[in-house]
């Protein structure tokens, strides 16, 4: 946009700048006024509501809330990791030429996408009803001892996520040109090597943006884990509100934490996407920091000739 600064003509006499009266956009002014009015009304309504905003900052850094935020963060990361790994495996199974593995993968996705996460969480938590004893041969225990809130939350959220991730990964893998597989095979690479070194790195460009979306969703969906007594943010906020009577206030506190977590992750996602954009275009887009720096230096060089004059 501000490139014009660089294009100083070689001629010694700079051309006269055009000084025209810009077109007036009255519609924009009206639209802006309406939007601002609506926002003010909403703001007034909220500030007049019977909500004690004073307690919100106090509870934001409350130990219980902090521990809840920490639980939310780590269950989301772990469940996402499980979903990602299992998702890749399911995607490969789904695309394999073996009809048994591809059918199993299809059924997995069908079941886990087709039933509510809430139900899946509760099923894992109550799995002792089906398998009272866990017997792995080398390890034997009562299922009720094994299925902690953490494990139920991890399995419930992670296995559900895997179904979604497998579809995302499959779309990513299928977006890579077949010529890439051929070239790899022609060089003597095995199927596994081809996948790891050639296909997946390219598929990542398609996989990362929806995965970021999934992760942000996961941060919020993890609140459902309160039904299995997992101490995440919403459960902790509810615990406090049941004694302090600050019900809505505590949901505000929790929401601020969710916003904070999703914002941080959005920034992380931007840099991950940038990393996998390597080679996809002639030059990488600048990071916000680089853009800021460039604009500043451009502004400086723009000012200098004026000073000199």
């Amino acid at each position: 946009m501000t490139d014009t600064v660089d294009k100083t003509p070689a001629a010694s006499v700079p051309p006269e700048q055009i000084k025209a009266i810009p077109v007036r956009h009255y519609g924009r002014w009206v639209a802006a006024a309406v939007v601002i009015a609506v926002l003010v009304l909403i703001g007034v309504a909220f500030s007049n509501a019977n909500i004690n905003y004073g307690v919100v900052p106090d509870y934001l850094t409350d130990g219980t809330i902090l521990s809840g935020a920490w639980h939310t963060l780590y269950i989301s990361v772990l469940a996402m990791a499980l979903g990602l790994v299992l998702g890749v495996i399911l995607a490969i199974m789904r695309m394999s030429s073996n009809p048994v593995t591809s059918t199993v993968a299809w059924f997995y996705v069908w079941f886990f996408r087709g039933t509510p996460v809430l139900v899946q969480l509760l099923l894992w938590y109550n799995i002792a009803l089906v398998f009272p004893i866990l017997n792995l041969g080398f390890y034997k225990d009562e299922m009720n001892q094994v299925m902690t809130p953490f494990l139920a939350a991890l399995l419930g959220l992670g296995l559900n996520e895997a179904a979604y991730m497998s579809e995302i990964v499959r779309a990513g893998i299928q977006s890579v040109d077949e010529g890439q597989t051929e070239a790899s095979h022609a060089l003597g690479m095995t199927q596994g090597k081809t996948l790891r070194r050639v296909i997946l790195p390219q598929a990542m460009r398609v996989i990362v943006p929806p995965t970021g979306n999934e992760f942000i969703n996961m941060l919020k969906t993890s609140s459902l884990a309160y039904v299995v007594q997992f101490n995440e943010l919403i459960k902790r906020a509810t615990d406090i509100s049941s004694t302090s009577l600050a019900v809505v206030e505590m949901y505000f506190v929790a929401s601020i934490w969710y916003l904070l977590l999703t914002t941080i992750f959005s920034i992380v996602q931007y840099y991950i996407e940038r990393r996998y954009a390597r080679g996809s275009s002639r030059s990488l887009p600048p990071t916000p920091l680089q853009r800021l720096r460039r604009n500043l230096s451009q502004w400086a060089s723009f000012r200098r000739p004026e000073v000199a004059r």
């Binding site: 051929e182 003597g188 095995t190």
Partner: protein
């Protein structure tokens, strides 16, 4: 001037590098190759011409087992491609064994098929490091030398998207050569290029031929075939119609089908 191929793997014997005996290939009901018999001698530049859809690419892809042949026998350097024979029974080779056979056969594609997420240098280093387990230092040294030789020594850090078509194809040739193959397959390497870029790729191929590389070249560049080729085969509808020295076939074709094809492309 250093040669493109420092150490061409010498053929095991004076026997043909590629030998096809009655090779058939069908895709479902479509019968594409209908009994191909031919021999490619070591150090020979073997040109394959023919109308679109005649099965040239399919035959080339059979040679490194990207396609399985439906009938007949195909040998590279005396070894059966894709199978092992015990008595009169054929056993399919395992994935690893097929991959091992392909190491010695370089292939260059019409659409380059460079790895877009790797720089030119990384493209050339990839297979030696990943497939042969070469050290990065050795692979990088050879990659640099090969890129120098195809005239791209100053473009090693460029991604494919930052290179012209001709430059990409030259990187692709360097990438295939990095595996020190004993045979190179070219599938219309210049067809996707702007006319003014064709020459730079043909020059590299000419150098390679002079270095004694065995090459099978599917091409529409009759000038190249006549000048560099040692043998030429005209294929149509899945069969070899005519073969011989390029000069003879191109200037004095015997079959009507060859004549009508050449009258269209020359």
């Amino acid at each position: 001037m250093s040669s493109l191929v420092k150490d061409i793997t010498p053929p095991s014997s004076g026997a043909p590098m590629v030998k096809a005996e009655g090779v058939h290939k069908s895709f479902g009901l479509a019968h594409i190759l209908k009994g191909i018999d031919l021999e490619v001698l070591p150090r020979e530049v073997f040109c394959l011409i023919g109308p679109s859809g005649s099965g040239k690419s399919t035959f080339l892809r059979c040679i490194n087992h990207l396609e399985k042949i439906s009938a007949g026998r195909l040998y590279v350097d005396g070894q059966l491609v894709g199978y092992r024979q015990h008595g009169d029974k054929l056993y399919e080779l395992k994935e690893k064994e097929v991959a091992a056979q392909r190491r010695d056969i370089g292939m260059v594609f019409q659409r380059f098929n460079l790895f877009p997420h790797m720089t030119a240098l990384e493209n050339v280093m990839e297979a030696p490091v990943q497939v042969k387990g070469e050290s990065k230092a050795v692979a990088r040294e050879r990659a640099q030398r090969l890129l120098d030789r195809v005239g791209l020594g100053d473009r090693t850090g460029h991604y494919p998207a930052q290179l012209s078509g001709g430059q990409q194809q030259r990187v692709a040739i360097a990438r295939a050569l990095a595996m020190q193959p004993k045979l190179m397959l070219f599938d219309e390497p210049t067809s996707a290029l702007d006319p003014e870029l064709v020459g730079e790729v043909l020059d590299v191929m000419r150098d390679l031929a002079e270095d004694g590389m065995t090459m099978i070249v599917v091409t529409h560049e009759m000038g190249f075939a006549r000048e560099v080729g040692d043998s030429l085969v005209f294929m149509d509808d899945g069969v070899v119609v005519e073969s011989g020295h390029p000069r003879d076939v191109l200037t004095n074709p015997q079959h009507d089908r060859t004549k009508s094809f050449l009258s269209k492309v020359l």
